[in-house]
């Protein structure tokens, strides 16, 4: 019953989303408050309905209800509970349902907490959000229904792909989807503003918390995905430039650009046209990512089992949303008034620069991801574009951006003084130069890029902190005053500094882990020893073990440093019973922020086993930096100033009075 109830709730959500697609936006355009009033409660209702349907599917997974085809195909009664639950979104149908759930969740958030947003904009936004919701609900019910039933249920399911049976799958896709889909609300805001023809500085202020929220989750989602691939695939790599990874990186780059350009729009009412376009592009790239993953047009680690009908359906949705919004944009954008003026050297100028580089980086990733596809269609030639391409394009494009990061926040709005700004950064520059020289002294001249990379990372980190330190001016005002200044700084300033600092941390991790990783590949017999980066690993032998739904061969290793045992590592080779599918479980030893990574290969008849050991210095900084970035975003959201209270019915005279002193 619960299954069918969930199914019905989904159908009802489709119908209701169609109603929501029409009524509030009509109200906003005609100025009818009754129609607009419908939007918030219905947005909450949509969330409850899709939520009910999601819960119903989850229940059927947890109880192993094999009368549901989706459960049969992706679950197994012996699977641990957590993977029964995470299995709900470990497949195409369930993950689209999660996609829609997040879509309506953001709608409900705006419906509930968006009372500071003017009713017309809010209702139109919720309507636009419902267009997307209706499109995807239709997609689910027509091509990917998770509630398809079997009259004669089998007694056991096919189990979930073992690679996906990992705590990473419980965390990574939901985070990523919240980010991915979160940009839908920014898109809806942009389209609603275009429909209503009111695009001003206030719009940017209303949209900023939502953009930030999506960005925070996308940052976390991508970094968790990277860490998951790192330890689960057993290859020791943390980024593969796989098309699906790129598909999540593109909206992140565009979304980061959007965050920055919206700032200019909010403060100076400049870059309006560009910001709206970015909002449209960011979500379009999210949709494109969804299309790439699910249509099977690209070969990828992540590709779902695909079905051409689904691909075509998503392609149609993609064209409809992207084409429609761009048409609307082309029609409305020329009507926008010119915004505030600014000199090339200014805060605005630096943000424009940021946007330029981020856009160029997005284009590079876009070309690298889609060029093979285009070439295949045009000439039939099969190529792959891998890490070398991206290193050669993405890297050089980002370096100037990274150099520029510390300058942005210290430049004044409108007309900046580069010299004055540089003076505030000379300490940061000195420290990073020292770091750079120290690295040259430490590692010699063979690797020129690594010390430069470290120097750049230190520059970004210290430069980001210099911004805060510069503001409190300890030497001038004394410690007590300085502390109160510190706490008095607005959240968005803190957020900026923290997030920029995080960028530097990630960069440091990338540079050191790529340049100074050491590895050994050996065939080891029991009691054999391999030494690496000052560690000695002894293979103690392998023993079989049985897990809930797999059997595994666990190899025991002892790690010694200077003759002292510091840890034991147990990498294993698993075979999942239901699918008879093998996986490699790497063992990772975290030492400070560095890691020892141990992965098993084929085991030989005589008890020997192939072993690959890596030492990856400072590698965890890559993900720690991302978490710091996300934290910076959260601090920025928490800024009280973003929550402009709903104004009391404004009197015209008061508004003018408030404006007068400035005249």
């Amino acid at each position: 019953m619960i299954v069918e109830l969930g199914h019905f709730a989904l159908v009802l959500a489709l119908v209701l989303s169609l109603v929501q697609s029409v009524l509030p936006v009509t109200g906003a355009l005609k100025g009818d408050a009754r129609l607009m009033a419908v939007a918030p409660p219905v947005s909450v209702m949509l969330f409850l309905l899709v939520g009910l349907s999601f819960v119903a599917l989850t229940v059927s997974y947890v109880t192993s209800d094999f009368s549901v085809l989706n459960v049969v195909e992706n679950s197994h009664s012996t699977k641990p509970l957590i993977y029964k639950i995470s299995g709900v979104w470990g497949n195409h149908e369930g993950s689209v349902l999660l996609w829609v759930l997040i879509l309506v969740f953001f709608g409900a958030l705006v419906g509930t907490f968006g009372s500071n947003i003017p009713a017309p904009l809010r209702s139109a936004t919720l309507s636009v959000q419902s267009w997307i919701t209706a499109g995807f609900l239709l997609f689910i019910l027509a091509t990917s229904n998770p509630f398809t039933r079997l009259a004669r249920p089998p007694i056991e399911g096919n189990d979930l792909n073992p690679i996906l049976q990992d705590i990473g799958l419980a965390i990574h896709p939901p985070l990523l989807y919240v980010g991915y889909v979160g940009f839908s609300i920014t898109f809806s805001f942009a389209v609603a503003a275009l429909l209503l023809g009111r695009i001003d500085a206030a719009w940017a202020r209303w949209v900023r918390p939502w953009t930030l929220l999506a960005w925070v989750f996308l940052t976390l989602g991508i970094s968790m995905g990277s860490y998951w691939a790192y330890y689960e695939l057993g290859w020791g790599g943390w980024w593969f430039w796989d098309p699906v990874e790129n598909a999540s990186l593109m909206p992140w780059l565009a979304g980061t650009a959007l965050l920055h350009s919206a700032l200019v729009m909010e403060k100076r009412e400049a870059l309006k046209v560009w910001t709206i376009l970015l909002a449209i592009f960011t979500f379009s790239l999210s949709l494109l990512g969804t299309f790439l993953v699910r249509s099977g047009v690209l070969t990828s680690v992540h590709a779902f089992a695909t079905d051409p009908a689904r691909g075509i359906f998503i392609l149609v949705l993609l064209c409809l949303f992207i084409g429609g919004s761009l048409t609307l944009y082309a029609w409305r954008a020329p009507m926008l008034k010119q915004g505030g003026l600014f000199a090339p050297i200014s805060r605005e100028g630096s943000l424009v620069l940021n946007n330029l580089f981020l856009t160029a980086a997005t284009v590079a990733v876009f070309v690298g991801t889609l060029y093979p596809l285009a070439l295949d269609i045009v000439t039939g030639e099969k190529i792959s574009v891998g890490a070398p391409f991206f290193n050669l394009t993405f890297g050089p494009i980002l370096v100037p951006l990274l150099i520029a990061i510390p300058f942005g926040p210290v430049l004044a709005w409108k007309r900046g003084d580069l010299l004055a700004a540089s003076q505030r950064l000379y300490a940061a520059f000195g420290i990073s130069l020292l770091a750079c020289l120290f690295c040259f002294w430490l590692w010699g001249m063979q690797r020129v890029l690594a010390p430069l990379g470290v120097g750049l990372a230190v520059w970004v980190m210290i430069g980001a902190s210099a911004e805060i330190l510069g503001r409190i001016r300890v030497r001038e005002v004394g410690a007590a005053r300085a502390f109160s200044r510190l706490t008095g700084l607005p959240g968005s300033t803190w957020g900026t500094a923290i997030a920029h600092f995080g960028v530097g941390v990630t960069l440091l991790g990338i540079v050191t882990a790529s340049a100074f990783q050491t590895e050994q590949i050996r065939t080891m017999k029991p009691k054999d020893l391999v030494s690496l980066a000052g560690f000695e690993l002894t293979f103690e032998g392998a023993v079989p073990r049985k897990g809930p739904n797999y059997t595994e061969e666990v190899a025991h290793f002892t790690v010694r440093q200077g003759g002292v045992e510091i840890a034991r590592l147990d990498p294993s080779k698993r075979v999942y019973t239901a699918r008879q599918m093998p996986t490699t479980e790497a063992a990772i030893l975290t030492l400070g922020v560095s890691q020892l990574y141990l992965s098993l290969g084929e085991s030989r008849g005589d008890g020997a086993v192939d072993v690959r050991v890596y030492y990856k210095p400072l590698i965890t900084l890559i993900w720690i930096g991302c978490v710091i970035m996300a934290f910076g975003g959260l601090v920025s959201i928490a800024d009280r100033r973003l929550r402009v209270g709903a104004p009391k019915p404004a009197r015209k005279s008061k508004a003018v009075a408030a404006a007068q002193p400035a005249e």
């Binding site: 070309v367 099969k382 891998g386 394009t393 699918r579 599918m581 093998p582």
Partner: protein
């Protein structure tokens, strides 16, 4: 500066950055892409030593020979031709004789393909798309894909 001059400065700067980026992308596309080849392509087209390619096909039955320290040799075949491959490292979990595989590397002077990357499917439902198509050309693959 007048409004117009400012605009021009901005647009000029943007143009320079974008032109540089496009140049970089084009250069990289010329230089850094890797073509997918089947064993037949390698044999017939005579891929020169040192040229980086992706070689895909089926791992020939009985061809896998493992040596110490994770050195392995095997043959990749599209049933008409086969190419010998050497690789050092951990093979993917689903690397199997008779299954699809994609290897990346260069043809050595002795005609043996030296791979530095081996990809097998990640799921029993998945066969590398290029491999499937190359095999279809040879009339071997009968998947519904």
């Amino acid at each position: 500066m007048t409004r117009k001059q400012r605009r021009l400065t901005m647009i000029g700067a943007a143009g320079v950055v974008l032109a540089a980026a496009v140049g970089l992308i084009l250069y990289a596309l010329n230089d850094q892409i890797v073509f997918f080849q089947s064993p037949t392509d390698v044999v017939e087209k005579g891929i020169g030593p040192g040229q980086r390619i992706r070689l895909g096909g089926l791992v020939e039955e009985g061809s896998v020979v493992r040596a110490d320290d994770a050195h392995v040799t095997f043959s990749v075949t599209d049933t008409s031709n086969s190419v010998k491959v050497t690789y050092t490292g951990i093979l993917p979990d689903l690397f199997r004789e008779g299954q699809g595989v994609v290897t990346e590397g260069t043809v050595g002077p002795d005609g043996v393909f030296v791979a530095d990357n081996v990809l097998a499917k990640h799921d029993e439902k998945y066969i590398p798309k290029e491999v499937a198509e190359a095999l279809k050309k040879q009339g071997v693959w009968k998947g519904d894909n």
